[in-house]
């Protein structure tokens, strides 16, 4: 079976197409959402998900979160004595989801559809694919997140839908897509986005607000963990502000606890610049698709950050109407990925359904252009496949030599929207030898072919020699990464995974440890007592005793800090 995976910045999820519908697969804790957090235990154990997220506050030097933002870069994170890059961390999440799926389905699972933000560039996409392969998956397709949401939304009632807009604000990225559904065809008209705008950025706003009120000596404390503690506290505060007019930003270091009250009004005023940034991708996608905002049939909100009142209000103001509320903002993407998985396996129930997507970035080559003064300006971007072209796509353009007896034309291949190639992302390069002739007498045909898996192939034909040159785009990072695949897989294989049955207990312990550290004085002592009781029960090794003790401590912790959130 092929599974569909939402690999998110904050949370991940896995789903499958079964019995004519998309079904979410629960993890070992029974949750559909698995926080995208990795922690390394004392004995080189990999801890994934909710317990890892809790350990962010107790063991910040051994825990990593929000590493999706590092995909496509070479940056590594230090966890204990290990150094991991974003692909390896993502592979650990994917591996955990793979285990969840295999347990749920009772069979090996080796194929997956993994979602990526629509505005992920080529490097980030290839990194995601490699993460899947590191986890032991054959990645059948990378699916754009808003498209996945549109799939989930469209299959709710299978009716015709006039163009609607998917507004996807996740933990780290923001995507907008305009989608239309007719005769079972789900057709994406245009996509736009901002790769550096998400819930995490709103957290930073809270941190900034809080730091203004925190005592100076606390800020100067040389704790390497303080950044992580602040982020965690900010996340909590931000969520609380979605429900209340004010919330406390609480940070505990050792025995010292500081509280800063943040009002919703102050937060919204400070977050105004971020909210203003939401408008530009919306405008771009509307302009590119030619669809008028007034004729949109729905605004579909996806992604946890769309729960913020400030975002909902901005959406309502932008469109003059209330957004749609029928799909689950957290689950839609994974469910959509499962639908795509079903399409790939030719499931009969999806016989009348097809999906077509678009290329979100312009692809082209570097070029020289005569400027207004008759001089030659080099390094100008010449588009070949314009953005929002339906894929698969194949386009040609013709180029000629610019000097006499030129020996070769060098094509540097770029992705982006900037006029000068130096501001775009370079994907590869080709050197095409040409016969010696006067300037402009040699014309070559350059063809770009972009397929549904996001693979770009370039074919250059030189009529004068009759030769064709072909390049399948691999960027430099990928070459190195692929060579080291085995090595990296070996590194991950060395890490031990906690036995599955123990997952619930592990999660409770991690949560209790976090609570211990974040409360002080009497409450801390109380939590300490509960932990001792629970550990004693674990030592007894009697399942029923353990279960009873676990329920007790969970209830106690819920009373203390409210129920855990995902």
């Amino acid at each position: 079976m092929i599974v569909g995976i939402d690999l998110g910045t904050t949370n991940s999820a896995v789903a499958v197409w079964r019995d004519g519908e998309a079904q979410l697969i629960p993890n070992a804790l029974g949750d559909f959402l698995t926080p995208s957090a990795i922690s390394i235990g004392e004995d080189d154990q990999v801890i994934v998900g909710l317990p890892a997220r809790d350990r962010r506050e107790t063991h910040p030097g051994r825990t990593a979160t929000a590493f999706k933002r590092l995909m496509g870069t070479q940056q590594r994170t230090k966890l204990g004595r290990h150094l991991f890059d974003a692909e390896q961390l993502s592979a650990l999440i994917l591996g955990s989801l793979k285990a969840d799926a295999e347990t749920f389905l009772g069979e090996p699972v080796t194929e997956a559809v993994i979602t990526v933000p629509a505005y992920f560039n080529d490097r980030q996409r290839k990194a995601t694919r490699r993460a899947g392969e590191l986890a032991g998956f054959n990645v059948r397709r990378l699916l754009n997140e808003p498209t996945a949401a549109a799939l989930a939304y469209g299959l709710q009632d299978r009716g015709e839908k006039e163009p609607f807009l998917v507004f996807d604000l996740g933990g780290g990225t923001f995507d907008v897509s305009i989608v239309e559904i007719f005769d079972g065809i789900i057709e994406v008209r245009a996509s736009a986005g901002d790769n550096r705008l998400g819930g995490e950025d709103f957290n930073e706003i809270v941190v900034d607000l809080a730091r203004k009120e925190l005592p100076a000596d606390l800020l100067e404390l040389n704790s390497p963990n303080i950044i992580e503690l602040q982020r965690a506290a900010a996340e909590r505060t931000r969520r609380a502000l979605s429900e209340n007019d004010s919330a406390d930003f609480v940070i505990t270091i050792g025995d010292r606890q500081e509280k800063v009250q943040i009002t919703a009004a102050a937060f919204e005023a400070a977050a105004e610049p971020l909210v203003a940034r939401l408008r530009d991708p919306v405008l771009r996608s509307l302009r590119d698709s030619g669809v008028m905002a007034e004729t949109l049939s729905e605004i579909v909100l996806v992604g946890g950050a769309t729960r913020m009142p400030i975002v909902r209000r901005a959406v309502t103001r932008m469109f003059g109407r209330f957004p749609d509320a029928t799909i689950n903002a957290d689950h839609a993407i994974a469910l959509g990925a499962a639908v795509q998985a079903g399409l790939l396996s030719r499931d009969e129930a999806l016989d009348e359904v097809r999906l077509t997507d678009v290329c979100p970035f312009t692809l082209g080559v570097n070029n020289a252009v005569r400027d207004a003064r008759g001089g030659m300006q080099t390094g100008i971007f010449s588009p070949i496949i314009e953005r929002n072209t339906p894929i698969p796509a194949s386009r040609v353009n013709y180029y000629h030599t610019i000097s006499d007896n030129q020996q070769a034309i060098v094509f540097d291949i770029y992705q982006g929207e900037a006029r000068e190639v130096k501001h775009n992302i370079k994907l590869g390069t080709m050197r095409i030898p040409v016969p010696p002739k006067p300037a402009g007498h040699v014309t070559v045909e350059c063809r770009f072919s972009y397929d549904t898996s996001g693979l770009l192939e370039v074919d250059v034909t030189v009529p004068d020699t009759g030769l064709t040159y072909n390049l399948v785009i691999f960027d430099e990072d990928a070459k190195i990464a692929n060579q080291q695949m085995e090595q990296r897989r070996a590194v991950l294989a060395q890490l031990k995974v906690h036995p599955r049955d123990d997952a619930t207990n592990q999660a409770v312990l991690a949560r209790a440890a976090r609570c211990y550290e974040s409360f002080i004085a009497d409450r801390r002592e109380l939590v300490g007592t509960w932990i001792l009781e629970f550990e004693a029960a674990l030592a007894a090794q009697d399942p029923r005793t353990i279960e009873h003790a676990r329920k007790q401590i969970t209830t106690a912790l819920d009373h203390l800090e409210g129920e855990r959130f995902l």
Partner: protein
């Protein structure tokens, strides 16, 4: 071409977009997009083109411009549906092209095209596309160029071919660096007919603020309140339009009070609560862009506010930056510069005040300014903010240009290093030396007399100089050949910075690509001659035109005796030289060219090709001089008959006769030849 679209979709031709979409959906479910991308691409293009055809005919019907020569497949009640479709005998590509040429360029004038002319054209066009060689790249590229020229050269007769040619060669595809001018001309023509690329019709161009607009009602607002507000905002918008587009052509620039009022109107308009709606905003942005761009410079007072509100600076350096916004951002740069320079402590403040003070009776500076400062200000305005020059007093600028010219090439681009012997000292030294040697005959009248040693055209090395500072070494010989020894790169840097910058940048490019010296010099020579020809043809200076033609005439006379074929060649309109090396330019000619180059426009502009026609009397005069009849002389001038000697004589007669006319009339006619 059109049937292919409907065949690919598997339906009969229709006017209903829904039918097209359903057909597409059906076909899509039959193919495997992943395994066979080409099938999908073909299907999608067919669908998009079908929708484009339907939309276009809807637009034309709505605008009442139903073209009678529509493709025979277009479902239109009223046209003759019972006529047989035109077929043409199968033939080679060349035959079809020949037929098209015959149809598009008929021998006599005013030949009636015939009712089925367009169908015949299309039949031939479709037929030549099926030539198997069209699959070969080289052949196709040549065919495209040939057909583009054919169509462009015979507009509007070839109009019906445009809709076939555009999809056949993908002329509406991504902009190409080498788009043939012919194709560009064709696309312009197509645009003016109302053809549009297939998209949902985006009516964001519709007037959002026009009076009576009810605003876009949505589910959340009630229409009552919107109507009321819409009137209010419309009033402000109309006031703004009235300020920027005055009815009276000679309206004075905006007074400070009016500028404040304009800003107030704009501020009110952007505080409209509807601005939060993205749909409204897109339309408003487009409307304001047009309002501001088309009313420059009156709209200067709100340019910075608009850029700030709509965040137009984010469009900089993007390939999809709309032209209007690029224009507005350019203007903003100028406005900021002007604002900055008003501050009394700005280094250019004095120079600016001087240049904007109208020149009185005395040719004296009103404000004391260092020449170097003035030079830098003028150079920087001309290079970076040419639009600002409009704000300066032209007489004042002319006076300063002349003043600064006295310093000659020593006023080159501001040098960063000091402590060198000033060039003007060297210049004077050499001047004295050479004048003593009696070499002044070669120097030009209005330069410093600084002469360079005569340079050889073919250098002793084949490559270009290694350092930028030596670009003059490579370029000066060419300039000397064309404009005499007094025309050097240094002089050009002084007088025509744009041209010298152009030459420098070409030199840099040539050097970077390892071009050899003689090629570079030949190309540079061609470029300069081209610029001279363009400048003259577009010039408004009658004396210049006359002078230019006088020089040309003397050359033609010389060639008439020695090489009539060359004479004919040079006699063609717009020709400036025979071959690449202008070895035979007389000193007077060189002086003229030097002067022209000093004021040459470096933008390549379209050459004016229309103008007054010769009247009967003028034609007779020419015929008399040439010793033949008016109709004969016309044919000779067009090169349609006669020997080289005869054609040459006709051209000489023409120029002589036109030079004998009153200056204004003569110049107008001489411009065209």
């Amino acid at each position: 071409m059109s049937t292919a679209v409907w065949d690919a979709l598997g339906i009969a031709e229709t006017n209903d977009i829904g039918t097209v979409r359903s057909a597409y959906a059906r076909a899509l479910k039959q193919i495997d997009m992943d395994a066979d991308p080409r099938a999908y691409i073909a299907l999608r293009e067919a669908r998009d083109h079908a929708i484009f055809l339907i939309r276009r005919s809807a637009i034309e019907a709505a605008q009442g411009r139903r073209d009678k020569s529509e493709t025979p497949h277009q479902a239109s009640p009223g046209l003759e549906p019972t006529e047989d479709p035109i077929t043409v005998p199968a033939a080679s590509y060349e035959d079809h092209v020949a037929q098209l040429t015959r149809l598009l360029f008929p021998d006599g004038d005013d030949v009636d095209p015939g009712t089925r002319h367009d169908e015949l054209l299309k039949a031939h066009f479709n037929a030549l596309l099926t030539d198997p060689r069209m699959d070969e790249i080289a052949f196709r590229v040549q065919a495209e160029a040939q057909l583009a020229h054919l169509i462009a050269g015979s507009l509007p007769r070839s109009r019906s071919l445009i809709e076939l040619a555009i999809p056949a060669f993908n002329w509406l595809g991504p902009a190409r660096v080498d788009t043939l001018p012919a194709v560009a001309a064709i696309l312009d023509h197509a645009q003016s007919l109302g053809d549009r690329q297939a998209t949902d019709i985006d009516d964001s161009q519709s007037p959002i603020f026009s009076s009576g607009a009810t605003g876009h009602t949505t589910g959340v607002h009630t229409s009552d309140t919107i109507d009321h507000n819409a009137e209010f905002y419309s009033a402000h918008y109309n006031d703004l339009v009235a300020l920027f587009f005055p009815q009276d052509e000679n309206a004075q620039p905006l007074t400070p009070e009016q500028k404040v009022a304009a800003r107030g109107h704009f501020a009110t308009l952007v505080s409209d609560p509807r601005m939060d709606l993205v749909g409204f905003r897109i339309g408003a942005e487009s409307q304001f862009a047009q309002l501001i761009a088309y009313s420059t410079p009156r709209s200067d007072c709100i340019v910075l506010m608009a850029i700030d509100f709509f965040d137009w600076t984010t469009t900089e350096e993007r390939i999809d930056q709309p032209e209007l916004i690029a224009h507005i951002l350019d203007r903003a740069r100028g406005i900021r510069f002007v604002d900055a320079v008003q501050a009394p402590d700005h280094p250019f403040h004095a120079a600016w005040t001087e240049l904007t003070t109208p020149l009185g009776d005395k040719l004296r500076p009103a404000v004391s300014v260092q020449p170097a400062t003035m030079y830098r200000l003028l150079a920087s305005i001309r290079a970076e903010q040419p639009l600002i020059e409009r704000d300066l007093d032209p007489a004042r600028v002319a006076m300063w240009d002349k003043k600064l010219a006295k310093y000659g090439s020593s006023m080159g681009p501001p040098r960063q290093s000091g402590g060198r012997v000033p060039l003007w000292a060297i210049a004077i030294g050499v001047f004295i030396l050479l004048s003593l040697l009696g070499r002044l005959g070669e120097s030009m009248g209005n330069t410093s007399g600084f002469t360079s040693p005569p340079a050889t055209l073919v250098g002793s090395r084949s490559g270009l100089s290694a350092t930028m500072a030596d670009s003059a070494v490579d370029i000066d010989p060419v300039l000397a050949e064309i404009g005499g020894n007094g025309l050097t790169l240094g002089v050009l840097r002084d007088k025509n910075t744009a041209l010298s910058t152009l030459l420098d940048s070409k030199w840099t490019l040539a050097r970077d690509q390892g071009q050899n010296l003689s090629d570079f010099q030949r190309e540079t020579g061609k470029l300069l001659l081209d610029r001279i020809a363009t400048t003259v043809r577009n010039s408004a200076d009658d004396n210049l035109i006359i002078h230019y033609q006088q020089e040309r005439l003397s050359d033609l006379r010389m060639l008439a005796l020695s090489a009539p074929a060359d004479c004919v060649y040079l006699g063609r309109p717009g020709r400036i030289a025979v071959g690449d090396v202008p070895a035979f330019f007389s000193p007077e000619r060189k002086e003229l060219y030097a002067r022209i180059l000093e004021r040459a426009d470096v933008k390549s502009q379209p050459i004016e090709s229309t103008g007054p026609q010769l009247d009967r009397a003028e034609l007779s005069a020419i015929a008399a001089r040439a010793g033949s009849s008016p109709s004969q002389v016309t044919m000779l001038l067009d090169g349609k008959m006669g020997s080289n000697e005869q054609q040459c004589a006709a051209r000489i007669a023409e120029i002589e006769a036109l030079l004998a006319l009153p200056v204004t009339r003569g110049a107008k006619l001489l411009k065209l030849i």
